[in-house]
Protein backbone atom coordinates (compact mmCIF):
# COMPACT_ATOMS: atom_id res chain seq x y z
CA UNK A 1 0.00 0.00 0.00
CA UNK A 2 1.49 3.38 -0.96
CA UNK A 3 2.24 5.87 1.77
CA UNK A 4 -0.64 8.23 2.45
CA UNK A 5 0.23 11.77 1.42
CA UNK A 6 0.14 14.61 3.92
CA UNK A 7 -3.25 16.28 3.81
CA UNK A 8 -4.87 13.32 2.14
CA UNK A 9 -8.11 12.47 3.90
CA UNK A 10 -9.72 9.46 2.27
CA UNK A 11 -12.52 9.15 4.79
CA UNK A 12 -13.34 12.84 4.48
CA UNK A 13 -13.42 12.59 0.68
CA UNK A 14 -15.77 9.63 0.83
CA UNK A 15 -18.06 11.41 3.27
CA UNK A 16 -18.17 14.45 0.98
CA UNK A 17 -18.89 12.23 -2.01
CA UNK A 18 -21.69 10.54 -0.12
CA UNK A 19 -23.15 13.99 0.50
CA UNK A 20 -23.13 14.56 -3.27
CA UNK A 21 -20.04 16.77 -3.55
CA UNK A 22 -18.65 15.79 -6.97
CA UNK A 23 -15.39 17.72 -6.42
CA UNK A 24 -14.45 15.24 -3.68
CA UNK A 25 -13.89 12.64 -6.38
CA UNK A 26 -10.84 14.48 -7.74
CA UNK A 27 -8.44 13.75 -4.83
CA UNK A 28 -9.63 10.14 -4.72
CA UNK A 29 -8.88 9.78 -8.43
CA UNK A 30 -5.53 11.50 -8.02
CA UNK A 31 -4.52 9.11 -5.26
CA UNK A 32 -5.69 5.85 -6.81
CA UNK A 33 -5.49 6.41 -10.55
CA UNK A 34 -2.10 4.76 -11.13
CA UNK A 35 -3.01 1.72 -9.07
CA UNK A 36 -6.35 1.55 -10.82
CA UNK A 37 -4.67 1.69 -14.21
CA UNK A 38 -2.15 -1.02 -13.27
CA UNK A 39 -4.89 -3.31 -11.98
CA UNK A 40 -7.00 -2.81 -15.09
CA UNK A 41 -3.96 -3.47 -17.26
CA UNK A 42 -3.57 -6.85 -15.58
CA UNK A 43 -7.02 -7.78 -16.84
CA UNK A 44 -7.37 -6.09 -20.21
CA UNK A 45 -3.65 -6.04 -21.16
CA UNK A 46 -3.91 -2.96 -23.30
CA UNK A 47 -2.95 0.53 -22.02
CA UNK A 48 -5.78 2.35 -23.81
CA UNK A 49 -8.40 -0.08 -22.55
CA UNK A 50 -6.86 -0.05 -19.06
CA UNK A 51 -7.13 3.76 -18.92
CA UNK A 52 -10.72 3.58 -20.10
CA UNK A 53 -11.70 0.87 -17.60
CA UNK A 54 -10.04 2.61 -14.68
CA UNK A 55 -11.84 5.88 -15.52
CA UNK A 56 -15.12 4.02 -15.86
CA UNK A 57 -14.57 2.44 -12.44
CA UNK A 58 -14.18 5.89 -10.86
CA UNK A 59 -17.44 6.98 -12.50
CA UNK A 60 -19.12 3.89 -11.03
CA UNK A 61 -17.66 4.77 -7.64
CA UNK A 62 -19.26 8.21 -7.89
CA UNK A 63 -22.61 6.69 -8.85
CA UNK A 64 -22.69 4.04 -6.16
CA UNK A 65 -20.77 5.68 -3.31
CA UNK A 66 -23.94 6.07 -1.25
CA UNK A 67 -24.07 2.25 -0.98
CA UNK A 68 -20.52 2.11 0.39
CA UNK A 69 -20.20 1.31 4.08
CA UNK A 70 -17.86 3.99 5.41
CA UNK A 71 -16.69 1.69 8.23
CA UNK A 72 -15.00 -0.62 5.73
CA UNK A 73 -11.80 -0.06 3.76
CA UNK A 74 -12.36 1.75 0.49
CA UNK A 75 -9.73 0.10 -1.66
CA UNK A 76 -11.05 -3.53 -1.62
CA UNK A 77 -14.50 -2.17 -2.53
CA UNK A 78 -12.99 -0.15 -5.35
CA UNK A 79 -10.99 -3.17 -6.51
CA UNK A 80 -14.20 -5.18 -6.86
CA UNK A 81 -15.82 -2.43 -8.93
CA UNK A 82 -12.77 -2.16 -11.16
CA UNK A 83 -12.47 -5.92 -11.55
CA UNK A 84 -16.15 -6.26 -12.47
CA UNK A 85 -15.81 -3.40 -14.95
CA UNK A 86 -12.90 -5.17 -16.63
CA UNK A 87 -14.68 -8.54 -16.67
CA UNK A 88 -17.75 -6.94 -18.18
CA UNK A 89 -15.62 -5.30 -20.85
CA UNK A 90 -13.84 -8.55 -21.65
CA UNK A 91 -17.12 -10.41 -21.81
CA UNK A 92 -18.53 -7.91 -24.30
CA UNK A 93 -15.30 -7.97 -26.30
CA UNK A 94 -15.37 -11.76 -26.41
CA UNK A 95 -18.99 -11.70 -27.53
CA UNK A 96 -18.15 -9.23 -30.28
CA UNK A 97 -15.29 -11.43 -31.45
CA UNK A 98 -17.49 -14.48 -31.48
CA UNK A 99 -20.10 -12.60 -33.46
CA UNK A 100 -17.51 -11.50 -36.00
CA UNK A 101 -16.08 -15.06 -36.09
CA UNK A 102 -12.67 -13.78 -35.11
CA UNK A 103 -10.74 -16.57 -33.47
CA UNK A 104 -7.51 -14.91 -32.42
CA UNK A 105 -7.63 -13.03 -29.14
CA UNK A 106 -5.33 -10.15 -29.91
CA UNK A 107 -5.46 -8.79 -26.35
CA UNK A 108 -4.15 -12.10 -25.03
CA UNK A 109 -0.88 -11.75 -26.87
CA UNK A 110 -0.07 -8.23 -25.69
CA UNK A 111 2.64 -7.87 -23.10
CA UNK A 112 1.87 -6.51 -19.67
CA UNK A 113 5.41 -5.37 -19.11
CA UNK A 114 8.07 -3.15 -20.57
CA UNK A 115 11.35 -5.01 -20.52
CA UNK A 116 14.31 -2.73 -20.04
CA UNK A 117 17.85 -2.93 -18.78
CA UNK A 118 20.41 -0.32 -17.91
CA UNK A 119 23.58 -0.05 -20.05
CA UNK A 120 25.51 -1.67 -17.18
CA UNK A 121 23.32 -4.76 -17.21
CA UNK A 122 24.18 -7.38 -19.77
CA UNK A 123 21.97 -8.88 -22.43
CA UNK A 124 21.41 -12.03 -20.34
CA UNK A 125 19.56 -10.04 -17.68
CA UNK A 126 17.23 -8.54 -20.27
CA UNK A 127 16.52 -12.05 -21.52
CA UNK A 128 15.77 -13.31 -18.02
CA UNK A 129 13.31 -10.50 -17.45
CA UNK A 130 11.65 -11.18 -20.76
CA UNK A 131 11.33 -14.84 -19.80
CA UNK A 132 9.87 -13.96 -16.41
CA UNK A 133 7.34 -11.61 -18.03
CA UNK A 134 6.42 -14.43 -20.40
CA UNK A 135 6.07 -16.83 -17.48
CA UNK A 136 3.72 -14.47 -15.62
CA UNK A 137 1.55 -14.14 -18.70
CA UNK A 138 1.34 -17.92 -19.00
CA UNK A 139 -0.15 -18.27 -15.54
CA UNK A 140 -3.80 -19.21 -15.05
CA UNK A 141 -5.94 -16.03 -14.70
CA UNK A 142 -6.60 -16.60 -10.99
CA UNK A 143 -2.92 -17.16 -10.25
CA UNK A 144 -1.81 -14.22 -12.37
CA UNK A 145 -4.33 -11.94 -10.67
CA UNK A 146 -3.13 -12.79 -7.18
CA UNK A 147 0.52 -12.52 -8.16
CA UNK A 148 -0.04 -9.08 -9.68
CA UNK A 149 -1.96 -8.00 -6.59
CA UNK A 150 0.88 -8.98 -4.27
CA UNK A 151 3.95 -8.17 -6.40
CA UNK A 152 2.85 -5.20 -8.47
CA UNK A 153 -0.07 -3.55 -6.66
CA UNK A 154 1.54 -3.94 -3.21
CA UNK A 155 -1.64 -5.25 -1.62
CA UNK A 156 -1.50 -6.92 1.78
CA UNK A 157 -2.96 -10.39 2.32
CA UNK A 158 -5.96 -8.95 4.13
CA UNK A 159 -6.62 -6.47 1.31
CA UNK A 160 -6.37 -9.26 -1.26
CA UNK A 161 -8.65 -11.51 0.78
CA UNK A 162 -11.27 -8.77 1.17
CA UNK A 163 -11.07 -7.73 -2.48
CA UNK A 164 -11.53 -11.27 -3.77
CA UNK A 165 -13.86 -12.46 -1.01
CA UNK A 166 -11.63 -15.39 -0.06
CA UNK A 167 -9.93 -16.44 3.20
CA UNK A 168 -6.29 -15.46 3.81
CA UNK A 169 -5.34 -19.16 3.67
CA UNK A 170 -6.62 -19.29 0.10
CA UNK A 171 -4.63 -16.16 -0.74
CA UNK A 172 -1.48 -17.90 0.46
CA UNK A 173 -2.21 -21.17 -1.34
CA UNK A 174 -2.97 -19.35 -4.62
CA UNK A 175 0.24 -17.39 -4.26
CA UNK A 176 2.09 -20.63 -3.64
CA UNK A 177 0.58 -22.17 -6.77
CA UNK A 178 1.41 -19.07 -8.83
CA UNK A 179 5.00 -18.89 -7.64
CA UNK A 180 5.49 -22.62 -8.06
CA UNK A 181 4.20 -22.38 -11.62
CA UNK A 182 6.64 -19.53 -12.30
CA UNK A 183 9.44 -21.51 -10.76
CA UNK A 184 8.69 -24.55 -12.92
CA UNK A 185 8.49 -22.42 -16.05
CA UNK A 186 11.82 -20.74 -15.34
CA UNK A 187 13.53 -24.00 -14.44
CA UNK A 188 12.29 -25.56 -17.68
CA UNK A 189 13.83 -22.70 -19.64
CA UNK A 190 16.96 -22.55 -17.51
CA UNK A 191 17.99 -26.17 -17.19
CA UNK A 192 20.84 -25.19 -14.87
CA UNK A 193 18.23 -24.02 -12.40
CA UNK A 194 17.17 -20.81 -10.77
CA UNK A 195 20.46 -20.44 -8.92
CA UNK A 196 21.92 -19.01 -12.11
CA UNK A 197 19.08 -16.64 -12.74
CA UNK A 198 19.83 -12.99 -11.80
Amino acid sequence: MPEKEIGWDEKGCIEQLQKGNKDALAPLVEFYRKRAYNIALGFVRNPEDALEMSQLAFIKVYRSIRHFDGQRAFFPWFYQILRNTCFNFLQKKKKLKEESLEEADSSGSESLFTISRTPEEDFRIGEQRRLLAEAIQQLKPKEREILLMQHFHQMSYSEIAESLGIPIGTVMSRLYQARSALREYLERHYPSGLKHVM
Partner: protein, 148 residues
Protein backbone atom coordinates in the same frame (compact mmCIF):
# COMPACT_ATOMS: atom_id res chain seq x y z
CA UNK B 1 7.41 -34.09 9.64
CA UNK B 2 5.46 -33.16 6.49
CA UNK B 3 6.63 -30.06 4.63
CA UNK B 4 3.16 -29.11 3.38
CA UNK B 5 2.09 -26.88 6.30
CA UNK B 6 5.26 -24.83 5.84
CA UNK B 7 4.69 -24.10 2.14
CA UNK B 8 2.14 -21.41 2.99
CA UNK B 9 4.34 -20.04 5.78
CA UNK B 10 7.06 -19.61 3.17
CA UNK B 11 4.75 -17.34 1.20
CA UNK B 12 3.97 -15.27 4.27
CA UNK B 13 7.69 -15.07 5.10
CA UNK B 14 8.58 -13.79 1.63
CA UNK B 15 5.83 -11.17 1.77
CA UNK B 16 6.58 -10.03 5.32
CA UNK B 17 3.26 -11.32 6.66
CA UNK B 18 4.51 -14.05 8.96
CA UNK B 19 3.72 -13.85 12.68
CA UNK B 20 6.41 -14.37 15.32
CA UNK B 21 5.25 -17.86 16.32
CA UNK B 22 4.96 -19.07 12.75
CA UNK B 23 8.38 -17.59 12.01
CA UNK B 24 9.93 -19.64 14.81
CA UNK B 25 8.19 -22.82 13.63
CA UNK B 26 9.28 -22.19 10.04
CA UNK B 27 12.90 -21.54 11.04
CA UNK B 28 12.94 -24.76 13.06
CA UNK B 29 11.64 -26.69 10.06
CA UNK B 30 14.05 -25.02 7.62
CA UNK B 31 16.99 -25.88 9.85
CA UNK B 32 16.18 -29.54 9.37
CA UNK B 33 14.87 -29.56 5.77
CA UNK B 34 17.18 -28.65 2.91
CA UNK B 35 14.56 -29.07 0.08
CA UNK B 36 12.39 -26.46 1.83
CA UNK B 37 15.38 -24.16 2.26
CA UNK B 38 16.07 -24.42 -1.45
CA UNK B 39 12.43 -23.89 -2.32
CA UNK B 40 12.20 -20.81 -0.13
CA UNK B 41 15.37 -19.40 -1.69
CA UNK B 42 14.02 -19.90 -5.21
CA UNK B 43 10.69 -18.27 -4.36
CA UNK B 44 12.59 -15.34 -2.88
CA UNK B 45 14.69 -15.04 -6.05
CA UNK B 46 11.53 -14.98 -8.15
CA UNK B 47 10.08 -12.21 -6.02
CA UNK B 48 13.31 -10.22 -6.39
CA UNK B 49 13.25 -10.74 -10.13
CA UNK B 50 9.69 -9.47 -10.46
CA UNK B 51 10.69 -6.24 -8.71
CA UNK B 52 12.68 -5.39 -11.84
CA UNK B 53 9.67 -5.72 -14.13
CA UNK B 54 7.60 -2.65 -14.92
CA UNK B 55 4.01 -2.70 -16.04
CA UNK B 56 3.45 -0.88 -19.32
CA UNK B 57 2.49 2.74 -18.72
CA UNK B 58 0.45 5.15 -20.82
CA UNK B 59 1.79 8.43 -22.23
CA UNK B 60 2.22 11.40 -19.86
CA UNK B 61 -0.51 13.31 -21.67
CA UNK B 62 -2.96 10.49 -20.80
CA UNK B 63 -2.30 11.17 -17.11
CA UNK B 64 -2.71 14.90 -17.68
CA UNK B 65 -6.14 14.35 -19.23
CA UNK B 66 -7.18 11.61 -16.83
CA UNK B 67 -9.33 13.64 -14.45
CA UNK B 68 -10.82 15.90 -17.13
CA UNK B 69 -12.04 12.82 -19.02
CA UNK B 70 -13.82 11.52 -15.91
CA UNK B 71 -15.25 14.96 -15.21
CA UNK B 72 -16.50 15.35 -18.79
CA UNK B 73 -18.12 11.94 -18.76
CA UNK B 74 -19.90 12.66 -15.50
CA UNK B 75 -21.20 15.90 -16.97
CA UNK B 76 -22.27 14.19 -20.18
CA UNK B 77 -24.13 11.54 -18.22
CA UNK B 78 -26.31 14.27 -16.75
CA UNK B 79 -26.85 15.67 -20.23
CA UNK B 80 -27.88 12.23 -21.50
CA UNK B 81 -30.40 11.89 -18.69
CA UNK B 82 -31.99 15.22 -19.75
CA UNK B 83 -31.93 14.22 -23.42
CA UNK B 84 -33.49 10.82 -22.67
CA UNK B 85 -36.20 12.31 -20.44
CA UNK B 86 -36.99 14.92 -23.10
CA UNK B 87 -37.10 12.28 -25.85
CA UNK B 88 -39.47 10.06 -23.83
CA UNK B 89 -41.79 13.01 -23.16
CA UNK B 90 -41.79 14.08 -26.80
CA UNK B 91 -42.30 10.51 -28.05
CA UNK B 92 -45.24 10.07 -25.68
CA UNK B 93 -46.81 13.31 -26.80
CA UNK B 94 -46.26 12.44 -30.48
CA UNK B 95 -47.81 8.99 -30.01
CA UNK B 96 -50.86 10.50 -28.33
CA UNK B 97 -51.15 13.12 -31.05
CA UNK B 98 -50.83 10.53 -33.82
CA UNK B 99 -53.48 8.36 -32.19
CA UNK B 100 -55.85 11.25 -31.82
CA UNK B 101 -55.33 12.94 -35.16
CA UNK B 102 -54.61 10.01 -37.34
CA UNK B 103 -55.41 6.50 -36.16
CA UNK B 104 -58.70 7.22 -34.36
CA UNK B 105 -59.94 9.78 -36.89
CA UNK B 106 -62.69 8.46 -39.21
CA UNK B 107 -61.73 11.05 -41.82
CA UNK B 108 -58.39 9.33 -42.53
CA UNK B 109 -58.37 6.42 -45.06
CA UNK B 110 -58.29 2.99 -43.36
CA UNK B 111 -54.99 1.92 -44.98
CA UNK B 112 -53.24 4.97 -43.53
CA UNK B 113 -54.81 4.32 -40.13
CA UNK B 114 -53.72 0.69 -40.18
CA UNK B 115 -50.18 1.66 -41.24
CA UNK B 116 -49.98 4.23 -38.44
CA UNK B 117 -51.25 1.70 -35.87
CA UNK B 118 -48.70 -0.92 -36.96
CA UNK B 119 -45.89 1.64 -36.87
CA UNK B 120 -46.74 2.78 -33.37
CA UNK B 121 -47.24 -0.81 -32.14
CA UNK B 122 -43.91 -1.87 -33.68
CA UNK B 123 -42.01 1.03 -32.09
CA UNK B 124 -43.58 0.32 -28.71
CA UNK B 125 -42.71 -3.38 -28.96
CA UNK B 126 -39.11 -2.56 -29.91
CA UNK B 127 -38.82 -0.16 -26.99
CA UNK B 128 -40.20 -2.70 -24.51
CA UNK B 129 -37.99 -5.50 -25.87
CA UNK B 130 -34.77 -3.44 -25.72
CA UNK B 131 -35.63 -2.13 -22.27
CA UNK B 132 -36.41 -5.65 -20.97
CA UNK B 133 -33.15 -7.04 -22.40
CA UNK B 134 -31.10 -4.26 -20.79
CA UNK B 135 -32.90 -4.69 -17.50
CA UNK B 136 -32.37 -8.45 -17.38
CA UNK B 137 -28.66 -8.03 -18.32
CA UNK B 138 -28.30 -5.50 -15.54
CA UNK B 139 -29.87 -7.86 -13.04
CA UNK B 140 -28.13 -11.07 -14.09
CA UNK B 141 -24.72 -9.75 -15.09
CA UNK B 142 -22.64 -11.44 -12.39
CA UNK B 143 -18.96 -11.05 -13.11
CA UNK B 144 -17.66 -13.33 -10.41
CA UNK B 145 -16.17 -16.53 -11.69
CA UNK B 146 -15.61 -15.33 -15.23
CA UNK B 147 -12.39 -16.82 -16.46
CA UNK B 148 -10.72 -15.35 -19.49
Amino acid sequence: MSCDPFKLSMMAKIDGELGRDEEAALQAHLAACSPCREELASHQRIKEMTSFLRLRQPEDRDWEQYWSRIHNRLERNLAWIFVSAGAVLLAGFLTFWLLEQFVLSAAVPWALRLGGTLLIAGLLLLFVSVWRERWSLRKTDRYEGIIR
